[in-house]
Amino acid sequence: MATKSKQKIKPLRLAKAWSYSPAPESASIAQIKDQYELFINGKWQKPKRGAYLDSINPANEKKLYRAAIAESEDVEKAVSAARTAYDKYWKKMPAAERGKYIFRIARLMQEQARELSVMETLDGGKPIRESRDFDIPMACNHFFYYAGWADKLDYAFSNRKAKSLGVAAQITPWNFPLLMAAWKIAPALATGNTIVLKPAETTSLTTLKLASIIEEADLPAGVVNIITGAGPTGSALVRHGGINKIAFTGSTAVGKLIQQETAGTHKKLTLELGGKAANIIFSDAPIDQAVEGVVNGIFFNQGHVCCAGSRLYVQESIAAVFIQKLKDRMATLLVGDPMDKNTDIGAINSAAQLEKINYYIRLGKKEGALHYQSDALLPKKGFYCRPTLFTKVAQSSRLAQEEIFGPVLAILTFRTEDEVIEKANNTPYGLSAGVWTDKGSRIFNMSRRLKAGVVWANSYNLFDPASPFGGYKESGYGREGGWHGLLPYVTF
């Protein structure tokens, strides 16, 4: 590579040179109720014990709404509603008609996409640009895509008659609330299962809105049940004897507990858990494009992404130039009000998550890695974290081994392909990886050797309903998306 690493590059200081006028999205687009009940058997029902949980807007710490806490009695009610709906309607419904219901959901979501986007951003803190251009459209697309599979299962599984499992219990995380609900509900419905879904307690809003969309679509009562609550609700759902399938997206620690819990049962289990993805930059990579990819890989959704490219491996010969360019690019990132359309990095989802991220930042410094943070201005209220990177990170450092789930990038270097494959695969996780090089044959070599469920070449964080997603090793098992995404919900 001809790049002179000692060459002084003039930094881009756009954030300082330009000031952006605020471009706020209107919060009044979203009609948020003060209180949400449980959506069980097609009706909004009060929780048995009458307990509710407040949900705040992490961007300003103001209370947004309160949602019911489902106790074991409510879980019982939801599971039995799902069972009745399965036996009475859903199992017997012609597949094409089932598909038409799912198409309806997709269309109604598309029509209400703007409101869903605003809700998602207010509730979870992600930039409105991301909920508007990624989360919500992708969620709609998932429904639209799986709707089409409903009457085509005989073609999907040749020589086998695919049967639905029954009642699926689904638990979704707080980082992509509506999208994860779509990933779970759409394939389950298409294959003929009924559902009890529990969203994360800090971000239930769009899933509750989805429940009202499902109501509007006139699905038979009990086919989809949405119950809110925290860990204990999820635990009661997982333990319930009346469910046939569990789909969980969340932390590896909880995933392991669920596997333990279900070990002696016939419940079919799929897990989409944590990750510590390696994003690998070879010296022949298109540098500026790769810098963009790295920024997208780690700072997308404040780094609250299970497949975030949180370990950067740069080939030694270009490391100095690359890291400088990366810092220059980081300096231009706008951190702040998620409702502002200019914002690149929004609010950290919760106080607890911010504390976890800050813990790792302190730890990194203590371990001796070199800390760098942009000097972005942060709002006074709310939970925010500047884009952060660490250089001189050791392979054994906890920064390079553990999932931080925040805008913190650990940078390591390598010389040879052998070395980087060894390092990249040296993790209990195996969700995703990125490879940046101009050489096609190297891309396929790397993608063959990387132990990860998704490999992005000269790109990062790409998703499509037609493309399967899921991990190797302790990142979980089962795939969501595409033809493979049908498998977790059928039996032969």
């Binding site: 598909g99 198409f103 709707a147 089409g148 396929f444 033809w483």
Partner: protein, 297 residues
Amino acid sequence: MKKTTQRLSVLKTYKLFIGGQFPRTESGRYYAALDAKGNKVANLCLASRKDCREAIVSARGALGSWSQRAAYNRSQILYRIAEMLETRKDQFLAELQQQGLSRTAALSETTGAIDRLIHYAGWCDKYQALFSTVNPVASSHYNFSVCEPMGVVAIVAPASPLLGLVSVLAPCLAGGNTAVVLANQEKGLCAVSLAEVLHSADVPGGVVNILTGSKEELLPWIAEHRDVNALVYAEKDTATLSSLRTKATGNLKRIIHWPVADWQYENAQSPYLIADLQEIKTTWHPIQQIAGSGASY
């Protein structure tokens, strides 16, 4: 003079559908659409060879952008056609009955056509998962085969005037082809009305072109045309089929025969109809053989 307070209805002029527009035939000729009793219900354009050529030119022009659209987008458009058809159900019911179908038959033609469109809307981004392969070749190459649309497809619409037409058109469009349709000669009204549905359903101009006219006159010419890649014939007449095959040899046009007896049957729909109108492209790409031969990280 008849004294009446009843309003005089406005009759519809049935025209051709070429390049997203509704021209009359350049030839100025017409023929009569008849009801069950043989009474004339409307005039239909008797398309000429020149109209046909215009339609093929339009279909070729529209192919590039249609075939390169995201499959998902084609899926949305097919679904939109179904939505449009559903809201105009009554118009089609009336037209089909005008052309001699019973109400029950007209209803099953119409609802069948809507559901068929939904079925193929779903296939747009899924048939690739069935018909594409990654091929485990012995050398160090990444080798994969994918489907590509054949191109401009001429369609001789089957006797079932709406369901049959939709059943052959939908797999053609789902697979990214563009079409020149020769409507059912005797029952051509709803083919023209379907064009109006397509026109209002985000189908880009030129992707579907619909002609009404004489099979005898136009078919030989279409079969010989060098810019048509495939021709779908959905009737049983073996003499016509063999003559089409003979005439198609000039550019080795694919003659696709779908002799479906009853389009109402569920197995009248299938991804194999989409596959019939696809070419398979195989790509070889080297895989570098560096690093840890036999490494099992």
